[in-house]
Amino acid sequence: MKGYKGVLFSAFVLWFGAALQQVVSPRVGIFGANPDFLLVFMSCLCLWTSRVGGGVVGFFAGLFAGATTGANMTQYIFSRTITGFLDAWSRLFGVDANLFVAAINAVLVTVIAQLVQMFFAPPSGIVAFLGATIGSAMYNGVLAVPVYALWRRILGPQGT
C-alpha cells in the first residue's frame, strides 16, 4: 500500500473508524467489553505499512480517539503512535499475514496500546481497566478477521 491511494485509504478508514467508535462501539458491548474500531483498523493497516507509516497511522488513530472522547490527547497519541510503529516493525519477523495473524495482531495491538496508555495515565480502577482491555482485545481480534479479509481484496496481499 503506497502512494496517495494508500494515504487516502488510511485517512478514510481512520475517519470512518472514529465515527464507528463514537456511535456504534457503546451500543454493541458484550459482557461489558466494547470494541475499539480505531485500534482494529490501525492494527490491520499496520499489516501493509512501513514503520514510519505505522507510526503515522497510530498518531492519527490517537488523535481521533482523543478528540472524539474529549480525553487528554497526549496519552492516546503516545500509546497509539508507539504501538503502530512497533506493530509495523514486527513485519520484519517475516510472518506472512493471514486471517489468524490479523486476529492475533489486533489482540496484541489492543493490549499493548492500552498498557502504554495505562502507563501514561493510570486509571482509578486498574483491575477493571485490565478486565475491559482483555475483553476489548478479544472483541477486536474477532472484528479484525472480516476487516482484514475485506481489505486484502481491496489492497491486495501484504507488502504490495
Binding site: 470512518f16 480525553a71 503512535t81 486509571p123
Partner: protein, 268 residues
C-alpha cells in the same frame, strides 16, 4: 540502512512531541472551559458520518424494538397518555405554589427563586471510559460551563466544555466530579459531597452520625448558583462507617442509566 533507521526513530519522536503539544493545548482549553481548536476540528470532520451512523443505529434499534414489543408499547402509550393528563394538572399546581412562594418571599424582602430555562439536546457521543458524553447544544443556545444536564429520571452530569454547537458533559460517574447532595428522605436532610466511583455507584460522604437508610432518595443540595436544589441523583444502596475519619460512606445507585441516555435537558 542505519540512516533510514535513525530517520524512522526521529519521525517517531517528532510525532510523540506533536502529541504532547496537542495535549497541552487541549488541557489549557479545558482549564478555561473551552475546547481546543484541534479537537473541535477533528470532531467536526467526524460529525457528519457520526450523525449518519447514529440515525441508522437508532432507526434499526427502534424498528426491531417496535416489532418485538408491539403490544407492550401500545400499553405503555395508553399509560403515558393518562400520565400526561395527570402531569398537566400537577404542573398547574406547581405553578400556583411557586407563585405563592415567590409572593411570600417578596413579603420577607427576599429575592424570588429564579426559574431555570430548559434547553433540549441529543446525546451525540458517549465515552464510557472517560465518563463523558457529547450533547448537540452549545454556546449558540446559551450554554455555559457548570450547568446541570438532566433527564426525567434525574441528574446526568455537568457541562465541562462548551463549543459553538455542542458541549462535553462530565457524567456523575466521573470520580473527579464533586457535587453537593442531601438525603431528602430524612428530616432534617443530611448534607454531604457526592462523587462518582463507577457507572453504577456514586459515593456520598456524610457526617458519622447522619441518619440514613438503604433506599433513601438523594438529591442535589442547591448550594450553587448553577445547580438548583432538588434534582434527583439516586437512592442509597450501601452504608459504611469509617471510624478513622469519623465519616459515613454512603453508596448511591444513580437514577439515570448513563449508557441509555439519548435526550437530555440542560438547566440554564
Amino acid at each position: 540502512m542505519k540512516q533510514a533507521s535513525g530517520r524512522d526513530f526521529l519521525i517517531l519522536f517528532l510525532l510523540c512531541a506533536v502529541g504532547v503539544v496537542l495535549g497541552r493545548l487541549q488541557s489549557g482549553g479545558l482549564k478555561d472551559g473551552r475546547p481546543d481548536m484541534v479537537g473541535s476540528t477533528v470532531c467536526s470532520t467526524v460529525k457528519p458520518m457520526a450523525s449518519l451512523l447514529t440515525f441508522v443505529a437508532d432507526g434499526s434499534s427502534d424498528f426491531f424494538h417496535g416489532i418485538f414489543n408491539a403490544s407492550n408499547l401500545t400499553r405503555q402509550n395508553r399509560d403515558l397518555k393518562q400520565l400526561q393528563i395527570i402531569a398537566s394538572q400537577y404542573a398547574e399546581t406547581v405553578d400556583r405554589l411557586s407563585r405563592e412562594l415567590d409572593s411570600l418571599r417578596k413579603l420577607n424582602d427576599l429575592p424570588a427563586l429564579g426559574g431555570k430555562t430548559k434547553v433540549a439536546a441529543t446525546v451525540i457521543g458517549y465515552a464510557p471510559n472517560e465518563n463523558r458524553i457529547t450533547i448537540s447544544a452549545g454556546a449558540d443556545k446559551g450554554l455555559r460551563v457548570g450547568l446541570p444536564v438532566v433527564t426525567a429520571e434525574g441528574l446526568v452530569g455537568i457541562i465541562q466544555t462548551v463549543d459553538k454547537a455542542e458541549s462535553q458533559v462530565s457524567l456523575l460517574a466521573d470520580p473527579n466530579r464533586k457535587i453537593g447532595a442531601l438525603v431528602i428522605s430524612r428530616n432534617p436532610p443530611p448534607i454531604g459531597i457526592i462523587r462518582g466511583e463507577n457507572a453504577t455507584t456514586l459515593v456520598l460522604t456524610l457526617d458519622a452520625n447522619s441518619p440514613v437508610q438503604n433506599g433513601d432518595l438523594v438529591q442535589t443540595s442547591g448550594f450553587s448558583d448553577r445547580i438548583p436544589r432538588g434534582i434527583s441523583i439516586g437512592r442509597v444502596n450501601q452504608i459504611y462507617d469509617d471510624p478513622n475519619s469519623g465519616s459515613r460512606r454512603v453508596e448511591v445507585f444513580p437514577n439515570v442509566s448513563l449508557g441509555n441516555v439519548r435526550e437530555v435537558l440542560v438547566l440554564k
